[in-house]
Amino acid sequence: MGSRASTLLREEEIEEIKKETGFSHSQITRLYSRFTSLDKGENGTLSREDFQRIPELAINPLGDRIINAFFPEGEDQVNFKGFMRTLAHFRPIEDNEKNKNPPATEPLNSRTNKLLFAFRLYDLDRDDKISRDELLQVLRMMVGVNISDDQLGSIADRTIQEADTNGDTCISFQEFMKVLEKVDVEQKMSIRFLH
């Protein structure tokens, strides 16, 4: 793409992203301008600091974790495609899409993929299991300072008890999906992207 991030996004790229993520043309261009406005280094990729510069994320308990979710394993930069791929998880599920062209692979915003994204927020070491420690970390981030470590520990234990069916004191992805089957994930994890 050249040393200087061009402000023009090529048509082929837009088509690619459209196919992969399902965003519309106008949504992609809009999000691209947002991407470039975040990209202070103007090198076509975002680093963690670029995300951290968004003030609202500093007062979001899960802010840093979500920033992490944008970066693929072990990398420190994310390009526009990766950016869109992550955002695609939050697209609302539309029924008519299924009829038009049944995609070869499961779309990024399917229920399973949404839950996988949520699962990965907990599971930092990517071993496909949420251990007690990982759960504790997330709980601690979301709860005030008035809960002692013991109390939080017992909450974590009870939570794992509810979900753990095979007794390994960890929550696997299958167990995670099962325990959340009554939750309307589609609605709770979708935002309507502006055109």
Binding site: E56, A58, I59, M142, I147, V183
Partner: protein
């Protein structure tokens, strides 16, 4: 207090006789009198002061018992007391000597209430939702007016009201004065029912902005009534529409001008800090009167005056002055509101104005309710299609039910011209009844209605712990993604406005010292190289500006320290500098749309560690749930501020940790600094990028 009232009655009955005496026996020289009873000398101011005192005493009585105010909103109680007082005076005098006259209301009682609302308006919230608010205010009000007028006329034709002489135009005029939702009543009732901030700002903003429409509609139809039906043609209608734009925009523009004037003045008042607070009251009032003079919308004028001068006043003025202004405004506004409601009650006890027409009154009430709901549903359906966060059904019901009419409608009704509108008394009576109905009945039933709706909505399915935690995770995730993708706040027009504002307005209107505080942070952001950064950090830790990283209880005053960027991110709070007050709990138990919290507060900790209870108590709220604290009588910080403090400090601490650990694994800073200073070549790009990385991380620490 009873004594005072009796005194009032006696005085008012004695006074006319006194003046007679004076006239008759005026010229008898009887020598020097040591003490004379000069009632007529002080009559007017004395009565005014006495009435103000009585109103305040009534309020004192009401507030003495919080149990009652839990069920019945203050405004309703004030009106009831007004009835009692009116009854007493009627009994003593056989004539209602005191009533709420339009002049008193519009010139002396209303302006300070509106100024207070404008000055404490949450600007960001207001302007974000401005589109929705405008649509409700303009289209909603026109809809209400038109449908009410036409339906009543239709019923009249159908004979439901018997023999009254009201023509179509007069019905439309009546509709226009009944259509407007009243800001005073809305605040009074919504203060008890804590709803989420978006809902509140929609109803409240609508009640303020619809004044523009009401004024125009009223004047237009008034003129039409005077002209008579025959003279209305397309030209007049076009003139009516044009006058709407002139009145609305003219009023707002005038208010903005006055607001800027106040800001400019506050920039120069360093040496007379004692009078600083006075300017806003005087100029605000002048804004109101000037708009009245030019027949523009005075409410819009004073609202925009308050809205514009907020920011600059708060930056420029001395702490004491800021406090004084805020508190004094609340005092005046509260006082006016009390007096208005008491007098609304008193004005009713007057045989001369009462005309009863069952059909007219009942139909009016019925139509007002129905059309309000229909209007709200239609408009929100239309708006939801382009809103990020749709307005739920429950919220729509609350919006519809919260369409209260109040004193403004009464004031307009009394202003009707009797010669042209024969049935003026009927209209005044109906207006009074509608006001009582909405304020008292709807006010009293608002809270139970919300509770009932929530009980239905909560549909008690017991959530498992996992579901609870995960729901919260989802909420935080959505908020974060909204912020990252720039859905909220990163707007082309917003950014343009921000740049314009920084460049021109701040330079003109902010005191140099206030601007420097903002600039310093910007300089940090732009100019640091690594060595400076390190020193700054060391110095900061030493001096305490980074104190919060070590000391968990240090209070970060967002507005003062971090200026613009954080002001955007925080829920709008009227921050007091005192961290102690931040811990003050909500004294008035309130109903909110979040039933969980309501239930959980009842549980006792003695019941032992209950995980569900703990989670409900302590899980951080996401931005969607922040409750807005707009209150006539309380000035405290939204207690969610503490949560935000905690989260912010924790995040910054962890970011600084990772920065420090990153620093450890790299070559000593000196050499790299030299490189960036002297050789901006591609060779050094990796380290340059490294520098930038650390610079920006530091800036994140500060910003």
């Amino acid at each position: 207090m009873m004594i005072l009232v009796l005194l009032l009655c006696c005085i008012s009955s004695v006074a006319p006789q006194e003046s007679h005496h004076e006239h008759d026996g005026g010229h008898n020289a009887t020598g020097i009198s040591i003490v004379t009873f000069k009632w007529h000398h002080v009559e007017t101011p004395y009565l005014i002061a006495l009435w103000v005192l009585v109103s305040f005493l009534v309020k004192l009585l009401i507030e003495a018992n919080h149990n009652v105010t839990n069920y019945i909103p203050e405004s309703a109680l004030l009106i009831c007391f007004g009835f009692i007082l009116g009854g007493m005076i009627w009994g003593a005098d056989k004539v209602q000597t005191f009533k709420l006259t339009p002049t008193t209301f519009f010139f002396y009682l209303l302006p300070q209430i509106i100024l207070d609302t404008g000055y404490s308006m949450p600007n960001k919230l207001f302007f974000t939702n401005l589109g929705a608010i405008l649509i409700h205010a303009i289209i909603g009000t026109c809809w209400n007016a038109a449908t009410l007028g036409l339906s009543l006329w239709g019923c009249h034709q159908g004979g439901a009201m018997g023999n009254i002489e009201i023509g179509l135009l007069q019905y439309l005029l009546y509709g226009s004065l009944m259509a407007a939702v009243d800001p005073v009543a809305v605040i009074a009732v919504f203060e008890q029912v804590h709803v989420n901030e978006v809902l509140f700002i929609l109803v409240f903003g609508e009640s303020l902005l619809n004044d523009g429409v009401t004024v125009v509609l009223f004047n237009v139809f008034d003129a039409f009534v005077s002209l008579g039906g025959g003279a209305i043609d397309a030209k007049e209608i076009v003139k009516g529409i044009v006058s709407f734009f002139v009145v609305a925009f003219g009023g707002s523009l005038l208010g903005t001008v006055f607001g800027l004037l106040i800001s400019l003045l506050s920039r120069c008042t360093k040496n007379i800090q004692i009078i600083e607070p006075g300017f806003i009251f005087v100029l605000g009032y002048l804004a109101y009167l000037t708009a009245e003079m030019l027949s523009l919308s005075s409410i819009l004028s004073i609202v925009f005056c308050g809205v514009c001068c907020q920011k600059y006043m708060n930056s420029n003025m001395d702490e004491n002055s800021i406090q004084t202004v805020r508190y004094a405004m609340k005092v005046f506004a509260n006082g006016s509101e009390t007096i208005i409601f008491v007098f609304l009650g008193i004005s009713a006890i007057d045989k001369t104005i009462w005309v009863w027409n069952t059909g007219f009154i009942l139909l009016t009430l019925f139509f007002i309710l129905i059309y309000r709901f229909i209007g709200v549903f239609i408009l929100t359906w239309f708006l939801n299609r382009s809103r990020l966060v749709p307005i739920s059904f429950v919220e729509q019901i609350i919006m519809g039910y919260g369409g209260l009419r109040g004193a403004v409608a009464y004031g307009l009704a009394v202003n009707l011209n009797e010669t042209k509108i024969k049935e003026k008394n009927l209209m005044v009576c109906t207006t009074l009844i509608v006001v009582y109905f909405t304020v008292i009945l709807q006010g009293v039933t608002m809270k139970p209605l919300v509770q009932w709706l929530n009980v239905k909505r909560a549909a008690t399915v017991d959530l498992t712990l996992v579901e609870k935690v995960q729901n919260k995770v989802f909420e935080h995730m959505l908020v974060a993604i909204e912020d990252i993708s720039g859905q909220i706040g990163d707007n082309y027009w917003r950014n343009k406005w921000r740049n314009f504002e920084e460049k021109w307005m701040s330079r003109l209107l902010l005191k140099p010292s206030a601007r420097k505080k903002q600039d310093r942070l910007f300089n940090v952001f732009h100019q640091l190289n690594l060595q400076d950064a390190m020193e700054y950090v060391k110095e900061g830790e030493h001096r305490g500006s980074l104190e919060f990283i070590r000391n968990e209880s240090a209070f970060v005053d967002f507005k003062k320290k971090f200026g613009e960027d954080y002001e955007e991110a925080m829920p709008d709070i009227m921050a007091l500098n005192d961290p102690v007050s931040a811990c003050r709990r909500d004294p008035v138990p309130s109903v909110s749309l979040e039933m969980h919290e309501q239930n959980m507060r009842g549980l006792r900790e003695a019941e032992g560690i209950n995980s569900h209870y703990l989670l409900d108590q302590h899980l951080y709220k996401s931005r969607k749930q922040h409750r807005y604290r707009f209150s006539r009588s309380h000035l405290d910080i939204n207690q969610d501020e503490n949560e935000v403090q905690e989260i912010f400090q924790r995040t910054m601490r962890s970011r600084l940790e990772s920065f420090k650990s990153g620093k450890m694994g790299v070559a000593p800073p000196k050499t790299i600094t030299k490189h960036t200073k002297r050789e901006p070549q591609p060779k050094v790009q990796p380290s340059a990028r490294f520098n930038r990385k650390h610079k920006s991380l530091l800036c994140c620490v500060y910003l």
